[in-house]
Symmetry: C2
Subunit: 253 residues, 2 copies
DNA sequence: GATCACCTTTCGGCTGAACGGAACGGTATA
DNA sequence: TATACCGTTCCGTTCAGCCGAAAGGTGATC
């Protein structure tokens, strides 16, 4: 492990979480690194536009280059590339928005978003990060991780996002077991009030879970008794089809 | 300057440019750092999900965390926040797609994209990076930089993207002078064949240019003799209005 | 199936580059 | 005017990063 690199990353993450603009001293305290060290690193990061300083002698913020990295990540994502057509198809079929996501630490990050066909106001959610335990996508992924990884995630503190967020490890363990059995996950207003999700895991040729695919929308539409069965089936079979495609063309190793 | 941090960033950028998946040796050669050093750094970056290793012992790629950073950047961008309503308005008025961009090294990075109102196929271009010299947005920004910064950019090698890309520094210098005078830039198929752009610089309260705003679309529509005057006026006045807004509410320093 | 070539990964001792305490100058605040 | 806190600079010390050498895998070649 390279300490300086680790520290620099922690600085970037500090800038990414919550307050977008921070001073040297604030960062130093936040990540517990001496001020001069933080300063030197910020300057180094600034060279590459990963951070930017507002006015001379002012606070620091993330720089535009991090966006280029993000874009490059999307461009290189096998999952995203292969999922677009399937997601589109499912969005039309279910008449709901479809998200494809991967796990990043304890968060689920949306890598593709197919809009609900007839929606007018569409907010692109690509790049959004949601705590894994508060969404169906997260449950779908984590339920398929091996015991060791899953327990590591259950061990971390679990934030409550709405009144309905489940944060008890034991309850989650049960839910994950159920998810594993059914091969799909359901979430009802645990991340956002009014919104629900249905998701299924996506795996690659080796059987390892690489992400999840699911639909997101208003509770009353998604979880209506008469639609639920058909929606879960649609999600599950789409995820399976996508997994098969990822498995087939073993792709560039 | 922290050497390790600089090196780590160069590794990330290498992963971001071109081939999305690289082996340790490939990276080592690309960025000219001894293999074991690259390895250690990759492992450090992997901890934070900034890079990810496909299969165990395989090649490395950017990780999902870089997307979170990108998203955080967008969320904290004053320019983006203030530009949305203006961009929307201009998109309706001009009936064309509107882009807002900032400079990142020698590239222009799109931070906001307002769709052309009646377009059906809409590709979200947020995060896209375009060499500054090949687009109106880039010209608008660079023309307003101070001499020193501008010359530094003109000194770097300028890539040709289409047959019409201007890559001669002297020609560019003239174009930039003209842009500075008119307070808007025009580009015709220099980045993409068939597409043109009209853009104007956006500055903050201190007068420093912070980005640019412009319309993008098919050459025949954008540069039609009868529309051009009204379009350039619309772009210019929108950019000015946005600048004024950024100037007014000095915002959180 | 043995050899080869190339990979990623591990190890450890040397050394110079990163670190951080202390001080500086500028700028809001009382 | 005094104070407090900021970003920034300085520079000697030291310990962490560096990287040559070697190990352990893996897939191709003959």
């Amino acid at each position: 492990m390279t300490r300086s690199v680790d520290r620099a990353v922690r600085i970037l993450l500090a800038l990414a979480s919550g307050t977008p603009r921070l001073g040297v001293s604030e960062i130093a305290e936040l990540v517990d690194i001496p001020k001069p060290t933080v300063y030197t690193m910020l300057r180094t990061l600034e060279r590459h536009a990963l951070v930017a300083q507002e006015t001379e002698g002012g606070k620091y913020a993330l720089g535009p280059a991090v966006m280029q990295l993000g874009n490059a990540y999307l461009g290189g994502s096998e999952l995203r590339a292969r999922s677009t057509s399937w997601a589109e198809r499912l969005a039309r079929q279910a008449d709901e928005a479809v998200w494809v996501a991967v796990l990043s630490g304890a968060d689920v990050v949306v890598v593709h978003h197919a809009f609900r066909p007839d929606d007018l106001v569409q907010i692109l959610e690509v790049g959004a990060a949601i705590p894994w335990h508060a969404c169906a996508l997260g449950h779908a992924i984590v339920s398929w991780l091996d015991d060791h990884e899953r327990e590591a995630l259950l061990g971390k503190p679990l934030r409550r996002l709405t009144g309905r967020t489940v944060t008890d490890p034991d309850t989650l363990r049960e839910q994950l077991a159920a998810t594993r059995e059914r091969a799909y996950a359901v979430e009802d207003q645990e991340a956002t009030l009014g919104d629900a999700g249905i998701a299924a895991p996506v795996s690659d040729w080796s059987g390892r879970v690489v992400g999840a695919l699911g639909i997101v929308g208003p509770t009353e539409r998604l979880l209506a008794a008469d639609r639920r069965a058909s929606l879960t089936d649609a999600v599950r079979s789409t995820a399976r089809a996508l997994s098969r495609e990822l498995g087939g063309l073993t792709s560039r190793r």
